[in-house]
């Protein structure tokens, strides 16, 4: 875990190309099922999940609410074990907390009594780094996520988007090998979301991270993904995996005009909302 030392604009092309096809999967779900006790009865959250994430890959998970996508992230983090099957990380079964992953949830979980800078520096503090090095690193990251001028603000003084950026910077300070992202940009306005998506994509590529990304936004699910995994039903099952054969270092704004992107999102929409897609089909045929 050293990749983050080289934060520079993606001008050069010497990025670590780790997305070799057929490489050993980094994160693997093998026949995974998870059941929870809810109100005294055992309810399945996910069933028969087979999913392998390769190093350097961005995999997005989409599906209706309550189909167990977050459950998969929790198991990848080792917060709880699957009821059936196995979750493997780097070839070994995940037992207990998986410190190789960093988790960013819908809520930012910043500490309200810490300033932006101190929140970002927290993982470094936990690691026992010297104060001046922590601060220097945190200031770097403040620049990466564009929070200059807000270093001394408390979370309560930041807007929702700024808090997300702060949480993202904290995640990057921890510098995990794999990012688990649970609707991180859920409640943001369109332009802010696009900005953060682009930032995330750039950082993940530049630092050679792997990412598992839960989203409800179907455009985001294609735009950011190398592969988009579609879940359906309760318990959630994988019903389709869409390989997104768009360039890895893509321009998220220009992407919208690419026929291939349009085609892929159409496919996803048809899968997610067949009746809507059918209703609109005659109109498109005109």
């Amino acid at each position: 875990m050293s990749g983050l030392r080289v934060v520079k604009p993606a001008a050069g092309s010497g990025q670590p190309e780790r997305r070799a096809e057929g490489a050993q999967p980094l994160l693997e779900f093998v026949g995974v099922a998870k059941h929870f006790f809810v109100g005294g009865e055992l309810r399945p959250a996910v069933e028969d999940v087979e999913l392998a994430v390769r190093p350097g890959e961005i995999v997005t998970l989409v599906g209706p609410s309550g189909c167990g996508k977050s459950t998969l992230l929790n198991m990848a983090a080792g917060l709880f074990a699957p009821t059936r099957g196995a979750v493997r990380y780097g070839g070994t079964a995940v037992a207990g907390l998986n410190h190789s992953v960093g988790y960013m949830t819908q809520q930012d979980h910043l500490l309200p009594w810490r300033t932006t800078l101190d929140n970002i520096a927290l993982p470094l503090e936990l690691r026992g780094e010297a104060r001046d090095r922590r601060i220097a690193r945190a200031l770097d990251l403040v620049r990466v996520v564009g929070l200059q001028g807000f270093e001394r603000h408390f979370p309560s003084q930041l807007s929702g988007g700024m808090r997300k950026r702060c949480a993202l910077a904290r995640l990057l300070a921890y510098d995990p090998e794999t990012l688990l992202l649970d609707e991180p940009f859920g409640a943001l306005d369109a332009q802010l979301r696009l900005g953060l998506q682009a930032e995330l994509l750039r950082l993940v590529r530049e630092l050679g991270k792997t990412a598992l990304f839960v989203t409800h936004d179907l455009d985001e699910a294609i735009a950011l993904a190398d592969r988009c995994v579609v879940f359906q039903g309760r318990p959630g099952r994988i019903v389709e995996q869409i390989t997104v054969d768009l360039p890895p270092d893509r321009d998220l704004l220009a992407l919208r005009l690419l026929p291939r992107y349009v085609e892929l999102t159409q496919r996803l929409w048809r899968r997610m909302a067949p009746e809507l897609a059918r209703a609109s089909a005659p109109e498109r045929a005109r």
């Binding site: 979980h109 993982p123 936990l126 408390f154």
Partner: protein
């Protein structure tokens, strides 16, 4: 309304009240019952000039502050311990709730029996009341730390000691201050009550003594002194809170949103 106008209205209200009081006293209501502002002012001035006011007020303040400090420290410690030790908390829960709902004043005679009529009794009586409030708030604070929050930091390799120091304690502090703010009036109630029941000094004694001699003016003078002391104690806690929790200040200053 501007801050100035608000204050102006307050002053007008106080003056109107005092005038009404002065006029009513002796005309509508016998002075024995309500005294009058001029008499009360005279009494206050006499008490202040003779040094009696400072003498009695300092005892009450000492009883309240010492009890407050003792009760708050014990309450924080117990709240933290029980907040972490879930099994014990579960066992003790009904007893604590039962004890909490006892009117604390009912325990005053027992405290006199146990600790006599001296300073010790008043301080411990105040401490007992403050302890309960601070304890319950601290305990709630520790229990309310988000489990998700802790999980995220554990993933970042935080040790249990680090979680305690960097998450549990700071978030409990916010609740501790809520407990402290709630405790201020109770600390004064405890001190005054103790002094009224068994003492020969303190504002509570002054109040009880004046009433016993049908010196209504003296009683109102003591009451006025008690009110001033309460306001000062409240201001002190708020000042401490502002110093200890600057982020809370930021929270209340932010614009209104859901």
């Amino acid at each position: 309304m501007s801050a100035f106008a608000t204050w102006a209205w307050r002053v007008v209200l106080v003056i109107a009240f005092l005038v009404l009081w002065e006029v009513a006293s002796g005309r509508l209501v016998p002075p024995l019952f309500v005294s009058s502002p001029s008499v009360v002012a005279g009494k206050l001035w006499g008490l202040a000039a003779s040094g009696k006011l400072a003498y009695h007020a300092s005892y009450t303040a000492m009883h309240a502050l010492a009890g407050f400090a003792l009760g708050a420290a014990a309450g924080m410690a117990a709240g933290l311990a029980l907040g972490r030790w879930h099994r014990l908390a579960e066992v003790l829960d009904p007893f604590l709730m039962g004890f909490y709902s006892v009117p604390k004043i009912a325990l005053a005679p027992l405290f006199i029996l146990w600790f006599g009529v001296g300073t010790q009794m008043k301080v411990l009586f105040v401490a007992m009341i403050v302890f309960l409030l601070v304890f319950l708030n601290t305990y709630t604070g520790v229990r309310n730390v988000s489990r998700e929050q802790l999980a995220i930091l554990r993933l970042m390799r935080a040790t249990e000691a680090q979680l305690m120091r960097k998450v549990v304690l700071p978030s409990a502090v916010a609740w501790v201050f809520t407990g402290l703010r709630l405790s201020v009036p109770y600390a004064l109630i405890g001190a005054i009550m103790g002094e009224m029941l068994a003492s020969n000094r303190g504002l509570g004694y002054l109040l009880a003594d004046a009433s016993a001699q049908f010196d209504t003016g003296g009683a109102f003078a003591a009451l006025a002194a008690i009110i001033v002391l309460a306001i000062l104690l409240n201001a002190l806690v708020r000042l401490a809170e502002r110093k200890a929790l600057p982020w809370r200040e930021a929270e209340t200053a932010r614009e209104f949103s859901f």
